[in-house]
């Protein structure tokens, strides 16, 4: 018996508001992030990831006020991403009461930041997020800055390099699938999970519990979703939901 596979809502914040983009574009306004954290807390979610999607693109930096508000309402593990580039920032964030720091653009533009942060916080608090987009020629390319800049690295290469530099967990997102509710890109999950030994969190495209099972069967240690937990139906109405503890536990008994 191991730990239960974690089911993780991912919340995206832009200008202080909770938003839901489609394929990394065109934000839909969802509401107040703190209120969403409060609801997820009541639903006793396994873990939460919150990413400020403007922080590194617009250069607004880390929003400490937001992190403080979130930490005071979140009695579960929380990962924060957005504009984190140094061990100093990472320590200030975890000191407020957030367990994990998620690195995306900085993991590529300044790879040594992974090591610095991992040395300061420990590997299990250092998450590297990899945004992957399918190539016309097959395979995937890793993108940064909200899918606007290609890095020329495959997600498996980027993940392995991140692990070697000290990342304790990899969050792999499919740009093509985000908010499409068409299921995870299972080949992508398999490709990244088989390249590293640290836990891999799958994100992008989940629409059902079956999608979670498929991702776990493809090598993911944890499953994450955005739309599935904050939007409902084809009109994408806002409705925060989360499976029951019994449902989450049932994921351990698959296969």
């Amino acid at each position: 018996m191991s730990a239960f596979p974690r089911v993780i809502p991912v919340l995206l914040v832009s200008d202080g508001y909770l938003v839901k983009p489609l394929k990394f574009k065109g934000d839909q306004y969802i509401g107040d992030p703190i209120n969403a954290v409060r609801i997820f807390n009541e639903k006793q979610v396994d873990e939460l990831v919150i990413c400020d999607i403007d922080a590194s693109v617009k250069g607004t930096g880390v929003n400490y006020t937001l992190i403080e508000e979130i930490a005071s309402e979140a009695f579960m593990p929380v990962g924060y991403g957005g504009g984190v580039t140094s061990a100093e920032e990472a320590q200030r964030i975890t000191g407020i009461g957030v367990e994990k720091v998620v690195l995306n653009s900085a993991a590529i533009t300044r790879p040594e930041s992974i090591t610095e942060i991992s040395d300061a916080l420990g590997a299990s608090s250092t998450v590297v997020s990899i945004d992957a987009k399918k190539k016309l020629t097959g395979g995937w390319d890793t993108y940064i800055r909200r899918a606007s800049k290609s890095t020329g690295l495959s997600p498996a290469e980027a993940a392995l390099r991140a692990q070697q530099l000290g990342a304790g967990e990899i969050l792999v997102s499919s740009i093509d699938r985000e908010s499409t509710s068409t299921g995870y890109d299972l080949k992508l999950i398999e490709s990244v999970s088989s390249a590293v030994t640290v836990p891999v969190i799958a994100l992008g495209g989940a629409a059902s519990f079956d999608d979670f099972r498929l991702a776990l069967d493809s090598g993911a240690s944890a499953v994450a979703a955005g739309s599935m937990f904050v939007l409902n139906g084809k009109h994408r109405a806002v409705l925060i939901s989360y499976p029951t503890p019994a449902q989450v536990r049932s994921l351990a008994e698959r296969g």
Partner: protein, 201 residues
């Protein structure tokens, strides 16, 4: 009663303080031997390496103060690495621990299906009735992140058991000294119950 949270440069103090506040317990951060000795109850958090933890406690002169406090019979609660520091030693390092509960920490064996670190939610099953686990519902689950597990010399010091590739002691207690391997401050209502119980000891 006030919970003194030991601040020694390791651990997520913000989370612990937030959770204590939520359960209605007063808390304060303590970082000197005098403050430790003037406390009603001590909470020792900690994330990171065993030797680093002991070195930081030593540098602040806290090691003898914590031992003296524990000898007075007042409650001491170690969380995660903080619990491992309560024992004599660890396979992770060379340093001597606080030695408040006989035993040591060993690394999990990496076997198929058991990834190290153990990260995520697992059940904790109390081995006996105890004030620290009072009113804990059945199937209580807690959030763990660790690569080492404690092995108390005296099995009677095990207060809770968790399965991860086999059973291990996820809670320990010897009189007024107790520990939890998981993070109660990040374990929803289950963790609130534990911290509320500790604050009421």
């Amino acid at each position: 009663m006030t919970v003194s949270v030991i601040s020694y440069g390791l651990g997520n103090l913000g989370s612990v303080v937030n959770m204590l506040k939520r359960v209605g317990a007063e808390s304060r951060l303590v970082s000197t031997p005098e403050e430790v000795l003037a406390s009603d109850r001590l909470l020792l958090p900690g994330i990171g390496a065993f030797d680093t933890g002991m070195r930081l406690l030593d540098e602040q002169g806290l090691t003898p103060a914590i031992k003296e406090f524990a000898a007075s019979g007042k409650p001491v609660f170690g969380i995660c690495l903080g619990m491992q520091l309560l024992l004599d030693s660890s396979e992770e390092g060379e340093a001597a621990g606080l030695g408040l509960i006989p035993g040591r920490s060993l690394r999990f064996d990496e076997v198929p299906g058991v990834r190290v670190p153990h990260m995520g939610w697992s059940f904790v099953e109390p081995t006996r009735e105890d004030s620290l686990v009072a009113e804990l519902p059945d199937e209580s689950r807690f959030y763990f992140v660790h690569s080492y597990r404690v092995v108390p010399d005296n099995p009677a010091h095990t207060l809770g058991i968790t399965q991860y590739g086999g059973p291990f002691a996820s809670m320990i207690r010897s009189d007024n000294v107790m520990g939890a391997q998981y993070h109660p401050e990040k374990s929803h209502d289950f963790g609130k119950r534990i911290l509320r119980n500790f604050a009421a000891l």
